[in-house]
Each structure stands twice: as structure tokens, then as C-alpha cells.
């Protein structure tokens, strides 16, 4: 199958190879949570809710008393995927993604400022169309900022792939399942440090570099967008407060 039209250079969904899908971010979507956000990348749509920092609920989970405990759960709605398959809760894929999100967010949260407390991040996928991992991380960043949790930097994530000898930014489900490489990158946007890097399939070394650079560029673009959303929200809250 042609994933990139050789004549026009457009992809199956009409994007250019280095074009991202439409982004949408919104904070405050779950009224009872301390912080919450909705994040959309094209058809991929996730909700993140943050509860905390609050007293550690289960003392046995406390690792040390100098830092906050960060927990994360990733869940997919039954209707989120194109074909319905009933998966048991806590399957391996969800457990792995929960872990990835937790570690990525932990790298940015200033946990030492909130000893004796725990922060729960819950991400719920409403629609999956490739790049759920990235969308979840972006949503979690927004939700954490909305909850007023101190962070070193904005963490954002984006994926890129390599199909039909073209590096492609932000793969959708069709491109993701095409069998080519899928590189997911998460960065601390301002410090320019990579906190998450995953790839499946194989790539030549020099191609990998271009693909990863492309994903990093995507992360930066998302970071710019997320900061716009947050700044707009902060300004509005301050103005309404009076």
C-alpha cells in the first residue's frame, strides 16, 4: 500500500510528511478533580485527571518520606478502538503505558517539594487513532499544570515513523500498523532533554536520527501549543478573579 502518494507527496489522510494532526487542548474538564485536561491529536482523544497532592492513602506504597509518590493509571474505553475487543483490565499493554507515563511525568514533577504526599494521574482514552501514548503524556502535562503541581519543565511527546522511504510525523493508526518503525519521543521542552524514547521495528542509524529529530520537532511544536493553552487559561482565571 502507498502510504505516501509518490506524485503529490501527501499521506493517506491528506497531510504532508512533516505535518502534525490538528491539536486541541482544554483544561478543567472533570469538575471534581484537582486538575484535568482533554487532549486531542486528530482523532485520538484522551482525558487526564489529577488528584492530589494529598496524604498518602496506602502507607505501604510510600518509598521514602522526602518525595511525593506519583501514581498513574492508563485505561482505554471499550469504544475507543475501531474494532471492539474486550480486554481484561490491567492487561500488559496498559500496565506498560501506565509505567511509561508515570516515569515520564515523575522526571518533571518537583517531587521533593511535596513530601508525605501522593499524586494520582488517571488517563482515559476516549478514542484511539495512533499515538495514544503521546496524547496521554501531553494530556497529563496539562492536567498537572492545571492542578498547580510544580514542574521543572513542560513534558511533551510526539511520535514519528518511516514509511515509503519518507520520515512521517505523528502517525495515525493506519500508518502505525503499517509495519514501519514507530519512534515515540518525550522531551522536557525547554531544557531540551529526552525523557522518553521508544522504537519498534528497525531503522538504519542515520535514518533513525532524522526520524527522531522530526519527532523532537513535533514535541516542541506541541510544547508551544500547550503553553499557549496554559497561559490563556492563567490570564483568564486572573482576570475573572478580579
Amino acid at each position: 500500500m502507498e502510504y505516501v502518494n509518490p506524485l503529490t507527496g501527501f499521506r493517506v489522510d491528506g497531510r504532508r510528511p512533516n505535518e502534525m494532526r490538528q491539536l486541541k487542548g482544554e483544561v478543567g474538564v472533570v469538575s471534581r478533580a484537582d486538575g484535568s485536561a482533554l487532549f486531542e491529536m486528530g482523532n485520538t482523544r484522551v482525558i487526564a485527571a489529577v488528584y492530589g497532592p494529598r496524604e498518602i492513602q496506602n502507607r505501604s506504597q510510600q518509598q521514602n518520606n522526602k518525595e511525593a509518590l506519583v501514581r498513574c493509571e492508563y485505561r482505554m474505553a471499550e469504544f475507543s478502538t475501531g474494532d471492539r475487543r474486550r480486554k481484561p483490565k490491567g492487561d500488559r499493554r496498559s500496565t506498560e503505558i501506565s509505567l511509561v507515563i508515570r516515569q515520564t511525568m515523575e522526571a518533571s514533577i518537583l517531587t521533593h517539594l511535596m513530601p508525605h504526599s501522593q499524586i494520582d494521574i488517571f488517563v482515559q482514552v476516549l478514542q484511539a487513532d495512533g499515538g495514544t501514548r503521546s496524547a496521554c503524556i501531553n494530556a497529563a502535562t496539562l492536567a498537572l499544570a492545571d492542578a498547580g503541581i510544580p514542574m521543572r519543565d513542560i513534558v511533551t511527546s510526539c511520535s514519528a515513523g518511516y514509511l515509503c522511504s519518507t520520515p512521517l510525523l505523528d502517525l495515525n493508526y493506519i500508518e502505525d500498523s503499517a509495519g514501519g518503525a514507530d519512534v515515540t519521543v518525550g522531551i522536557l521542552a525547554k531544557m531540551d532533554k529526552v525523557t522518553l524514547l521508544q522504537m519498534d521495528a528497525k531503522l538504519p542509524m542515520d535514518t533513525f536520527e532524522t526520524v527522531m529529530d522530526l519527532a523532537t520537532e513535533g514535541c516542541k511544536a506541541i510544547a508551544t501549543y500547550i503553553r499557549e493553552v496554559l497561559l490563556e487559561n492563567t490570564k483568564q482565571l486572573e482576570c475573572q478573579r478580579g
Binding site: V30, S31, R86
Partner: protein, 286 residues
Amino acid sequence: MVGLSEGEKHFICGGIAQDLRADGRTRLQFRALTVETGIIPQANGSARVRMGATEVIASVKAELGKPTILHPDKGKVSIYVDCSPTAAPMFEGRGSEELSAELSVALQRCLLGGKSGAGAAIDLSSLIVVEGKACWDLYIDGLVVSSDGNLLDALAAAIKVALSDTGIPKVNVSLNAEMDGEPEVDISDEEFLQFDTSGVPVIITLTKVGKHYIVDATSEEESQMSSAVSVSVNSHGQICGLTKRGGAGLDPSVIFDMISVAKNVSQRFYTLLESEIAAAEAAADE
């Protein structure tokens, strides 16, 4: 779970006895209701319903399947509900399983009309494509995104709206290929058939607190309930299903009274829901 002090409990019970609840509602008033349709584009139909701080999503997906041998002339419908941990940290991991199962079963009871499927909300024989060979399987999924009481009523309302939003692709069956047992079906991408959703009931839960009962209870009020009766009523005022929850026993005469109240309230809820659906459709058309 919500923890309330003695004083607050007393205040809530007193409010219900005096017909002025904590947010100013009377016993039989609903919270503000908002409805959105088509929020899950990948599904055949979907809806979001908000009642106060309660928010639920329902989606309907249709897939081609085979009818069961027992009922070769009927399609299949399944209902499954999940409570997202975004709604409350207590739903994380396996914490939501019990509640999800309770809600799923209550909805199945009210909407699917028993084992035979007779009296179901959706006419199951309308889902048949080729008798005994192919039919539509409807998968109805509910998701609780934010929880502040009265989840069952909200889910049932969301499912009703999602079904009215659902379009099933038109199917052409080529008869000549039917010789080798498997019919060849051609699913149209352009033509969709709408459902007749007039028979889909709504659920009205009456929560009994003290001597009185209320509709659309918040989670604080639910924590004070002695028992609750969920009645599903269709637009003709017929009762399609019933569930009693909660520990305390009820006098049969009270139950009959509650059912008749639920029936009256449901007609008000219908008009409320219909106007919200119309508003949502108008918003979607814009």
C-alpha cells in the same frame, strides 16, 4: 466514599423532609441537564450527558455477526459500563468492577427485555440482515467520566440519546452467492438507516431518604439513602424494568406509590430530554 458528619447528615435529611434540598431543589426536581451527540466519531452513534457534576458517555457500535441458533430471526445487543478512574480515585484498578457490573446489569434488565428479547427497547428483529445467517450486533458501551450521583439515570439517558444518533449502514445482500452457505453482504458507506428509538425507555431512580423519596440524588444524598427503586418507563408510560437497591425493606404499598410517582416524573423527564436532544442536534448542524 463521601463522609458526612452527623450535623450534615441531619441537614440533608431535614432538607428532604422539608422539600428543600441542599442546592435548592424540591424532591422531584432534576439538576440542569446538558446533552451532546456525535462525540465519538468512530462509533455509529454516541452521546454525552451531564447532570450537575455527573458526566457519562455512551457509544453504540454496530458489527456484522451471526444470529444465535435459538433466535435466528433476531440481532444481538450487549451493554457494558465502565467507571473511569478520572471520576474518582476509588475507581482505579479493580475498584470500579463492582459498581460497573451493577450498572451494566441494571441497564441490561431495563433495556434488553429478558432472555428472549421480547419487549426490548430496540426491536431486535429489525437488526436482522439475512435470517439465520447475518445480523447486526449492537455494542452499547457506557463510560462514567465524572461521578456525582444518579449514574444509572444518566447512563440510560445517554444510551437513549446515543441510539437516536445511531445510523446503521444500509446493507445489500447478493442472493446468488448464498448457495455456498455464506451470504455476501455489501455494506454501504453512504446510506444509513436510523433507528426507531421511540420505544427506548428512560430510567427514573427514586432514592428514599427518611420518610420521603427524591429524584436525581447527588452522591451526598445517595450516601444517606435507605433504599432506592429504579423504574424504567417508556414514552407510553409502560414500565419496562425495575430494580430495587439498598438494604432497608420497603412496604409494598410504598413501592407501588414510588412506581406511580416515577411514571409521572418520567413524562417530565421525556420532555426535558427531547428538548435537549433537539438543542444538541441543532448545535451539531451549525
